[in-house]
């Protein structure tokens, strides 16, 4: 099932998301795209602040709060990312990470239609993460849909050069994405240093001297 969804997502990207993102890049000048990127990122920082707090990460929460405060005012509603320029680290925390922090295991891998790779834990957290996503700050269903599409296009546009890497790097793209994603989410939960469970001295692999 996951593999079928993966194949569907690939087609969707090939025929819709990628061409739209390419057009976005071709039509809009770079400074406008950077502004959109920063604006969306600033709204996303609010949810990072909440989740850093829920994980009792005082410094991360405080710094992210300062980021939002500075960028929302001096940064003209987030269009300018002054905080990063000033060296205040941008982090990303979501509800899936918060659940992981409090001991919820990732569970099985799930390939979601359109949205892509996830764990079962993150899928459960998704409706709440969605409610806190940048597009939900706007009023009216049409505006929200528009902002959702803009956000997706903007993100895809930043990745146009990556499109072929998946096929080139792997023998089985689906396994490659699944294994990589599971590792990445553990890494997210442990802020970069998850407990190692891979055996680098596996006696079954190496010749005995």
């Amino acid at each position: 099932m996951n593999r079928k969804v993966f194949a569907f997502n690939e087609k969707l990207d090939q025929y819709l998301m990628r061409p739209v993102a390419q057009a976005y890049v071709d039509v809009l000048p770079s400074f406008v795209r950077t502004g959109v990127h920063n604006f969306m990122g600033n709204l996303a920082d609010v949810w990072t602040f909440v989740n850093a707090g829920l994980q009792l990460k005082g410094q991360a929460a405080a710094e992210t709060f300062v980021r939002v405060a500075v960028n929302s005012t001096l940064g003209l509603y987030g269009v300018l990312d002054i905080a990063t320029e000033a060296g205040i680290e941008k982090r990303k925390e979501d509800l899936g990470q918060t659940l992981g922090f409090w001991g919820v295991k990732p569970g099985p891998f799930v390939m979601l239609p359109v949205l892509g790779p996830a764990t079962l834990r993150d899928t459960v957290a998704l409706p709440v993460d969605w409610k806190a996503s940048p597009s939900q700050y706007f009023q009216g269903p049409n505006t929200r849909t528009g902002m959702t599409l803009l956000n997706a296009t903007e993100k895809r546009a930043g990745l146009l050069k990556a499109s072929d890497t998946l096929k080139q790097a792997s023998l089985d793209p689906y396994s490659f994405v699944r294994d990589g994603w599971l590792q990445k989410r553990e890494n997210d939960v442990y802020d970069g240093n998850p407990p190692a469970d891979f055996d680098y001295n596996d006696p079954d692999v190496f010749e005995q001297p």
Partner: protein
């Protein structure tokens, strides 16, 4: 989908930086250098080199491969990397099969990621303080590549090898939270189960051949 690509794109750039960071490693001669100092010194120097060399960023695979062989491979325990990616089947492979496997795996990595060299522009590398209590034979150096976009997590797993290389050999890379070896193990195991070691070697060779064709077409257009 976006998540997949985001991971990949930043992985590519990260891996290329990781590889290129090592290009200057042969210049190292300090004998008792700490692992983090080793990574920090060569990182900065190498990034400057990549920034200054346009041909290096243009994606000429032959040229990049030549450089990897001459400057990078002496600082990587690539045999160990390939063995761990392959799994238990490695022990049963003949020396000839092991060599071909290493060659094809290296080609796959270099060719796949050399395109991302074009993304090197204004980045700098920040080496984080070493986590205490680590074993010299299995030591992780955490770094972060900072540039225009979001920072890229880039970690190295090293073993101390007095008298060999610059005193350290790298045997795994982590880009954005994904260790390279572990990420290939399942795929390699699947190929081995289906067609033995030769099956795996052939699959890698076919992939490399297809990539070579695709890259040539991309450069022409």
């Amino acid at each position: 989908m976006l998540n997949t690509l985001n991971l990949l794109s930043r992985r590519s750039l990260g891996l290329v930086l990781a590889l290129s960071v090592l290009l200057l490693a042969p210049l190292a001669h300090a004998e008792d250098e700490a692992a983090d100092a080793f990574i920090k010194r060569v990182s900065t120097e190498t990034l400057d080199l990549v920034k200054a060399d346009k041909t290096l960023r243009s994606g000429d695979t032959t040229r990049i491969m030549g450089m990897v062989d001459a400057k990078l491979m002496p600082h990587v325990n690539f045999r160990r990397m390939t063995a761990l990616a392959t799994g238990p089947a490695w022990r049963k492979a003949t020396p000839e099969q092991q060599k071909r496997l290493q060659d094809e795996f290296k080609t796959l990595l270099v060719r796949t990621y050399s395109g991302a060299l074009s993304q090197v522009s204004d980045q700098s590398v920040v080496v984080k303080p070493l986590r205490p209590g680590q074993d010299d034979k299995n030591l992780v150096v955490n770094t972060e590549v900072r540039g225009k976009g979001d920072p890229i997590q880039l970690d190295y797993r090293l073993e101390k090898t007095p008298g060999e290389g610059a005193g350290w050999l790298i045997y795994d890379l982590n880009v954005l939270g994904v260790w390279l070896i572990e990420n290939y193990r399942t795929q390699f195991t699947k190929e081995v189960n289906a067609g033995g070691i030769d099956g795996l070697i052939n699959s890698l060779a076919e992939r490399n051949k297809a990539n070579a064709g695709a890259n040539a077409t991309a450069r022409k257009s």
